[in-house]
Structures are given as structure tokens and as C-alpha cells.
């Protein structure tokens, strides 16, 4: 039984992290929301909008209130549709590849064979590589159209090497991001496979269950839950892919929503527009988060 004293102490113990996270979440979010309604460009410190439109409302620092102009501008920017499409393509493809690939690899790693520990770390390793390294290694040593390893393989079988970043930048980005996230799916699904009841396995084996129906009726139902977790968590991270695009310079053709916001803000210095874009990204992520939180919340009761 927790006493009155421990309760009070418990509250005291929790308060620093609550305070820190509250500040981390609420202050920037509030500022972003506020900025998104301003005409605010860092290159234009003394806004002249009051001269242009005399009736414009000003805030305390003489910045013009812009109403929903930033939102309508951002949402009707052709670059937004492009970025949005790229974001969805990236998330969709990488998810599909990691769920299917992760399941197959997890099934393979669950078998008995020589050097299992070593093969497992080889398969998980890409997830541990920092994104900037992975991007540069793929861009140069793997995908360079002249001296890259893939070009060598293509020539070996008599095919014309592909200039990945000129002709298929999206495919290239999907490939390198999938290379990083398939291992994550593998790791989660393998962990779950290993918790599958050993007796159930034996029973199925004794009954002579064909491997395919064993997979379909016993393994797959067991994997549905971890698969959902993989999908939700990867979605959160994949919506935020940034370094791969920043480093490979594929922004023009494979740039996603985060990169567009970055361009608006830190490159074009349009704080208002970037903030509106940021809020749109937050809303999108929250839709995904809603489902993830419900899943994990259920788990908390168990």
C-alpha cells in the first residue's frame, strides 16, 4: 500500500520529467502555431506589410498577422503535393518491403543452422548504421552509375547500368531506407517468433502439419500483433526521414514533407510558411499516432 507520504514523493519524483517534456512539447508547438499565422520572414526583419495593406493587424513585435494565408499558400504549393506524394510513396513502399522481408528473414533466423548469432548480427547491422553514412555509401559505392557495385553487377549480366539518382531517385531512396528498416522489422518479428509456444510447434510437427498451413494457422496469427507494432512505429519514423534526402541531394525529385518544411524555414527563411507546413506534418503524424497509442495503451492494462 502506497502511503500518503510516498504518493507525495512520487509526484515530486515525476515532476521534473513532466515539466521537461511539457516544455519540450508545448512551447515549440505553441510557437509554431502562432508563427503559422504570421507573415514572418527572417530576411525581411522590418516587415512593410502594414504599408502594403494599411488595415493589417500587427502583433507586439510589429509582425503582420497573416490569417490563414500561410496555410493556403503551403497547401496550394505544387511542391506540397509532390512532397506529400513522395512521403506517402516512401512510407508505403518501405513498409511493404519491411513487413514481407522482415517476416521472411525472421522465419529464416528462427531455423536451426550454423553461425546463427553471427548471421543475425549481420542482418541487423544496417539498422545501426547512422543515416548519413548509409546515404553516402549507397549513393557512391553502391549506386554510382560508373564505378558503383550495382553498375558492376548490371554489366556482369549484360545490362545497362542505371543512373539511379538521375532516373530513379525515389526508387533509390526507397531502397536505401528499406535496407535500414527491414532489419528492424526482422528483429521485432524474430523476438515474437521465439516466444511462440515450443509445445505448439512440436504438436504441429507430430501431427505432420504441412509447413504452409502451420505458417498460415499458427505463426501468422501470432505475428499479427508485432506486425502492427512494426507498421505503426516505422510509419512514425518514416514520415520523418530527412538525412537520406539531405545528404543524397535528391530533394528536387524525392523530397518529402519534412524536407519541404526545412526548405521553407532554414533555406528560404519563410518562418510563417514553414510553421504552417510543420503544423500540417504534426496533424498527419497524429492520425497515425492515435492508432499506435491505442495499441500500446491496451498492452498497459494487460
Amino acid at each position: 500500500m502506497a502511503t500518503q507520504q510516498t504518493r507525495a514523493l512520487g509526484k515530486l519524483a515525476v515532476s521534473p520529467s513532466v515539466f521537461a517534456l511539457f516544455m519540450w512539447m508545448i512551447v515549440p508547438l505553441a510557437m509554431t502555431i502562432y508563427f503559422s499565422f504570421l507573415r514572418y520572414n527572417l530576411l525581411d526583419p522590418n516587415p512593410i506589410c502594414s504599408l502594403l495593406s494599411p488595415g493589417a493587424l500587427l502583433d507586439a513585435e510589429n509582425r503582420c498577422l497573416a490569417g490563414i494565408t500561410n496555410y493556403s499558400y503551403f497547401l496550394t504549393d505544387p511542391a506540397f503535393f509532390k512532397a506529400m506524394g513522395n512521403s506517402l510513396k516512401l512510407v508505403g513502399w518501405v513498409l511493404a518491403i519491411s513487413v514481407v522481408g522482415g517476416t521472411l528473414l525472421a522465419l529464416l533466423l528462427d531455423q536451426a543452422f550454423y553461425g546463427r548469432g553471427f548471421v543475425r548480427i549481420m542482418m541487423i547491422a544496417p539498422f545501426l548504421v547512422m543515416p548519413t553514412v548509409s546515404a553516402l555509401v549507397w549513393k557512391n559505392m553502391m549506386m554510382n552509375p560508373v564505378s558503383g557495385f550495382l553498375a558492376y553487377l548490371f554489366k556482369l549480366v549484360g545490362l545497362q547500368p542505371i543512373d539511379w539518382f538521375a532516373h530513379a531517385p525515389m526508387t533509390a531512396v526507397v531502397l536505401m531506407v528499406a535496407w535500414q528498416w527491414v532489419p528492424f522489422a526482422t528483429l521485432i518479428l524474430l523476438t515474437s517468433l521465439q516466444s511462440l509456444d515450443e509445445e505448439q510447434k512440436e504438436a504441429a510437427e507430430m501431427d505432420g502439419t504441412p509447413p504452409l498451413s502451420y505458417f498460415w494457422y499458427i505463426v501468422l496469427p501470432h505475428l499479427i500483433r508485432p506486425m502492427t507494432v512494426v507498421i505503426l512505429i516505422e510509419t512514425i519514423f518514416l514520415l520523418n526521414v530527412f538525412a537520406e534526402i539531405y545528404v543524397t541531394g535528391t530533394a528536387g525529385r524525392a523530397g518529402n514533407l519534412p524536407f519541404l518544411v526545412y526548405q521553407y524555414g532554414l533555406i528560404a527563411n519563410d518562418i510563417g510558411g514553414a510553421s504552417a507546413g510543420g503544423i500540417i506534418a504534426v496533424i498527419l503524424a497524429n492520425i497515425v499516432a492515435f492508432f499506435l497509442m491505442r495499441m500500446i495503451g491496451k498492452n498497459l492494462d494487460a
Binding site: 515549440p28 549481420m122 547491422a125 553516402l136 564505378s147 515474437s192
Partner: protein, 276 residues
């Protein structure tokens, strides 16, 4: 009874698994090999696998030309610093939530999780401006704070799931014996919690080391970690693959080693305990 597997089948699976494992690992293996070649051999066609003049010169050149050690030092400081401060804040919180849960503890945990869902671009502009106005851009202290807050929810969750597994009766027994709360924390809880804390520490170092969005946006030179160091190789200037490989190898080697130990923690931490 252990299941018996025919040797033939085992050999077949071994061959298949090694082939696929090597295929997935190949870009990393290739990077490591290339780092020991000369620039000429690095782009040679057909590629040279093992029979080339092994050389260490790239490592020396990389250190000399772009001061690898300074970036590595920043990476270490950022990873350790952010992890340390996050643990200092998180341990008491997780302890309280695991052993003295209130009515709203569950909501609180879910709320903490929700902060992790917020896309960084939603906070980029204000954080950038705050950092600029307070002179925190490109400072270690600034980035440590951001990384700490970024991973705090994961740390609290991980510690919480570990602390939950410690039987509460033991704590009550020590309390009955008259141990004060401070002593209870220090002598009873801490030793039992060390494995969980160590796991959390490991995972957080990996996450902080590889974090690329904030480190690329908020650092330029003085506080720049290895993510930024590698990004500086993105503009090709002549023959540079061997050097790029040497730089990459140095940037990922520590984490590959840590990752070897941290496989279980990765699962637990990144799924917030939803998969164990």
C-alpha cells in the same frame, strides 16, 4: 524433447542464411574493405575484393584533413551527456510510476509517449529561433538538451517496464525494516535495477549517436558530431571513396559493436514494451 533437425536440412539452411546475411551486410562490408584501398583501387573495375594493397593511409588522411577526432569527441559527449541527464531525470520518475502509481499514472505514460509522436519539423522553427536568440546554436549544451528531451520518453518507458518486473514486496520489506526512502532507492532498488538501467543506457547511446535531424539542423562546426562530419563528404571532390569509406567505418564501428550487445534492448525500447 528437443526437436531433431536433419543435418542435410541444417546445412541447406546454413548456406541460404549465410548467403542472405552476407548480401544484406554487403554494403557495410564493402565500405570497410574500401577503406583499406587506395583511391585508384577503390573505383577499379572489376572491383577488387581481397587482393589489393592493404593500406591504412586513408585513416590518417581523414583525420588530418577533416579532424575526425574532434567530431568523434562531440559524438561521444553528446551521446553520453544526453543519456546521463536523461537518466537522472527519468530514474526517479519511472521509479515513482512503477511503485507508487496514482490514478493518472497510465495517462501520464501515454502522454509522454505522445510527445515522441510529434514530428521534429513541427518544432524545428521555434527551436532554431530560440537557439539562435540564446546563442545555443552549434553548442554542445544545446544539442545535449535536445537529444535528452528527444529520448526521454523512450527512457522513461523502458525503465518503467523494467522496474515493473521488480517485486514490490522486497521494497516493502526494506521499508518495514526501517530503511528510509533514500536508502531504499540506493541500496535496494538500484542494485536490482542496474541491468534495466544498463540496457536503457545502451539503447539511448545508440539512438543519440545516430540522431541526424537535429544534429544536422542545429550544428555547423564546434558541436558538430559524426553525422555532420559524414554529411560534409556529400560534395564529391575528385577521387574520394576510400577516404569516405574510412570516415564511414570510423563513424559506425562503435555502434555496430554496441549493437551486438543491445539487440534485445532495441526491441523493447523501440516498441515501448509492446513486444518483449
Amino acid at each position: 524433447m528437443a526437436r531433431t533437425v536433419s543435418t542435410r536440412r541444417k546445412l541447406l539452411v546454413t548456406a541460404l542464411a549465410w548467403a542472405i546475411g552476407l548480401l544484406i551486410f554487403f554494403p557495410i562490408l564493402w565500405t570497410i574493405l574500401t577503406s583499406f584501398k587506395t583511391e585508384g583501387e577503390a573505383i577499379a573495375l572489376p572491383p577488387k575484393f581481397l587482393f589489393f594493397d592493404w593500406t591504412l593511409e586513408n585513416y590518417g588522411i581523414v583525420q588530418e584533413r577533416s579532424d575526425y577526432l574532434r567530431f568523434a569527441m562531440n559524438s561521444i559527449m553528446l551521446a553520453l551527456g544526453s543519456t546521463f541527464f536523461a537518466l537522472v531525470i527519468a530514474i526517479p520518475s519511472a521509479w515513482a510510476m512503477a511503485f507508487a502509481p496514482g490514478r493518472r499514472t497510465k495517462d501520464l505514460l501515454m502522454w509522454m509517449l505522445s510527445t515522441k509522436m510529434m514530428p521534429p519539423v513541427g518544432a524545428l522553427v521555434p527551436i532554431y529561433l530560440i537557439f539562435r536568440d540564446f546563442g545555443l546554436l552549434d553548442t554542445r549544451g544545446g544539442i545535449i538538451t535536445v537529444l535528452m528531451l528527444l529520448n526521454l520518453p523512450i527512457i522513461i518507458w523502458m525503465l518503467y517496464t523494467y522496474f515493473k518486473e521488480i517485486p514490490g514486496e522486497i521494497l516493502e520489506a526494506s521499508r518495514m525494516d526501517g530503511a528510509s526512502l533514500g536508502k531504499e532507492l540506493l541500496y535496494v532498488l538500484t542494485p536490482m535495477a542496474i541491468p534495466g538501467i544498463a540496457s536503457t543506457l545502451l539503447l539511448n547511446i545508440i539512438l543519440a549517436w545516430n540522431e541526424a535531424f537535429w544534429t544536422l539542423s542545429l550544428t555547423t562546426k564546434d558541436a558538430a558530431p559524426l553525422t555532420q562530419f559524414i554529411a560534409s563528404y556529400s560534395s564529391p571532390e575528385g577521387l574520394f571513396w576510400a577516404k569516405l569509406s574510412a570516415a564511414s567505418t570510423m563513424a559506425i564501428a562503435p555502434i555496430l559493436v554496441l549493437g551486438w550487445f543491445a539487440q534485445k534492448q532495441l526491441v523493447r525500447g523501440l516498441t515501448f514494451g509492446a513486444v518483449k
